[in-house]
Amino acid sequence: MGAAPASRDVTSYGMGLAVPLALFFLVFFVAPLLQLLWLSLHNDTAGLHWGIGQYLHFLTDPFSLSVLGSTLLLGAEVTAVCLVLGFPIAWLYQRVGPRLQTVIILIVLLPLLTSVVVRTFAWIVILGRQGIINATLQSLGMIDTPLKLLYTQFGVVIALAQVQMPLMTLPLITALGRIDPNLDDASCSLGAGSWRTFWRIVLPLSLPGVIAGCTLTYAAAITAFITQSLIGGGQMLFMPMYLYQQASTLQNWPFASAISIIFLLAVLAVVSVFTTLGRLSRGYGGA
């Protein structure tokens, strides 16, 4: 692998430019993470006894495991809703004129331009007992008593799906935009109907975008502390809130640290499943 003397090794220069960011990460990300790991390896709140007791406690406690399970399930539900609702928007975007494209992109991006807190309170207004949905259904005479929408899994999924939608739609728009429009015509001229074209051509070729969108949406949905706690209320407990309670209310820092590490590993596991799928699909659609 003798490099030609004329060409400089591209990896040898430019690294210096990354030093400030590297330092920043070292001080504000790696160091706290190590501290977290260090804390989690103590069996008592005073931090006097080393051990993996906190981890054993979490992994043998049915309540903790159910919180982890419901959080991971919540992420899956939100991701599924975003995919099912986001794909048609992205598909539409590639098939309308430039004016409508601007409108669609604005609608997609709009949630990002308002604060999560504001958007979440808007959902409380919409989903509440006296909220827009219940008031409308009641005035139409379709229901007698208000539906319970707020503080339910359904409400949390819907609100999170709206909040995280851009993370799904934007990668999908990019992926669909990379597909040669002639492929649609080619498929059609070969006798395929719209559904066959979608399943055999459009969907497989958009897989890289689907996987990117799912990864982002999933990671964002399960860690969305504000929306989860405000829409879920006291009855629904997810990992971020569980963590917060242990750390701030109960001052049980070692256990909170262990929860963090376990949660982190769980998220990493799911994300790496997605990226593995992405790598498999790249040979497939990334041509």
């Binding site: 040669d180 002639n182 492929l183 015509d185 080619a186 498929s187 059609c188 001229s189 070969l190 006798g191 395929a192 109907g193 066959r196 055999r200 051509i201 497989p204 070729l205 497939y284 659609g285 041509a287």
Partner: protein
């Protein structure tokens, strides 16, 4: 209807298409194509040839007129029901499917079972001389090979009409000739009525049985390559197909087959009136191809001064400035160095023979 075994006739009947903006894409196009013919749609970019192709394929619904394939009016049929095979300019192979899956795609859409599909795909890959490429992905093939696959894929559905959209534009020159021969061979074998959209006149003239020349959405001429080249009906066809000198002049006398024209450059020549007899004294544009002009040593023809001389291999093209200030190109066969002409030399130029020139009424 004269249908050859597998090639069906295609009639484009008074087709007009208007864009939503109101602009005309194609206007009153009439083509009567016999089963098994190769037709070239020739024209500069933006002339409406691709729009016409997409209308025939069913991707665009024309504003007026009918498309008739065989005995069927197909206007109401969507593209996937027309049995029209298309080879796209960029081939549009499905990048995630193997070569044989690409070829078999249309068969799968027709519900043909897997074993039969694979047999048929292999037969077509043999036909386009890529028998062992079935397992590869499109990006592992060269441009010429991808085009063969695109052809095989289009032929797999046994189309009644085969449409080729600028099929050779992306290939380099040597490969292009091979592929043109290949397409012509496949067309002869299958007998499929074929329509080639192209802006390349050599391609149109060499491949097609008949050529339809389009300009600004109108059909300028529809005839055999020699009709189009030797007997152009319009000034556009004369100047677009092959190269041509345009010389202004005045009609001295004319009947239906010959017109005597006084060129502004200073000579009287006999030209073929392209659209019937011309009015005496009327202004005309005379088109003479560079290869139909020669240098003469007597005082016939018109005078000029040699400007640039370009040796183009087999021929040398001389640019000659005429007395009225316009320039003409004169092409000479290259025989040794005998035809070298000095820049600035005074010469006389005359047509090789009468009636090689075409006269068109001058447009104001």
């Amino acid at each position: 209807m004269a249908d050859s075994p597998s090639g069906r006739s295609l009639v484009v009947d008074a087709v007009t298409h208007r864009y939503p903006s109101g602009a005309l894409a194609v206007e009153n196009i009439n083509l009567d194509i016999k089963g098994g013919e190769i037709i070239a749609l020739l024209g500069p970019s933006g002339c409406g040839k691709t729009t016409l192709l997409r209308i025939i394929a069913g991707f665009i619904a024309q504003t007026q007129g009918r498309i008739i394939i065989g005995d069927d009016i197909v206007d109401a049929l969507p593209p996937n029901r027309r049995a029209v095979g298309i080879v796209f300019q960029n081939y549009a192979l499905f990048p995630h499917l193997s070569i044989s899956e690409n070829v078999a795609y249309g068969l799968a859409a027709r519900g043909i079972d897997k074993a039969e599909r694979q047999r048929e795909a292999q037969r077509l890959l043999d036909l386009v001389q890529l028998p062992s490429m079935g397992e590869r992905l499109p990006r592992q093939l060269s441009g010429g090979q991808q085009q063969r696959v695109a052809l095989a894929r289009a032929l797999a559905i046994k189309p009644s009409i085969l449409l080729l959209d600028e099929p050779f534009a992306a290939l380099d020159k040597n490969l292009r000739l091979d592929m043109q021969i290949e397409v012509k061979r496949l067309q002869r074998v299958s007998g499929i009525t074929t329509l080639i959209v192209t802006h390349d006149q050599e391609e149109a003239l060499s491949m097609a049985d008949r050529v339809a020349v389009l300009s600004h959405g109108r059909l300028e001429q529809f005839g055999t390559p020699s009709d189009v080249y030797d007997r152009p009906q319009t000034l556009f066809v004369n100047t677009f197909v092959g190269s041509s000198n345009r010389m202004p002049g005045t009609v001295v006398s004319s009947d239906r087959t010959a017109a005597k024209v006084r060129l502004d450059a200073g000579a009287e020549i006999i030209a073929r009136p392209a659209a019937g007899a011309l009015a005496d004294g009327g202004r005309v544009t005379v088109c003479i191809r560079p290869e139909h002009l020669q240098f003469v040593s007597d005082d016939t023809g018109f005078a000029g001064v040699v400007g640039m001389s370009l040796p183009l291999g087999a021929t040398v093209v001389h640019e000659v400035k005429t007395a009225d200030g316009s320039g003409v190109k004169v092409s000479q066969a290259r025989i040794g160095e005998t035809h070298a002409l000095e820049n600035g030399a005074a010469v006389r130029v005359a047509p090789l023979a009468p009636a090689l020139a075409n006269a068109f009424p001058a447009t104001l």
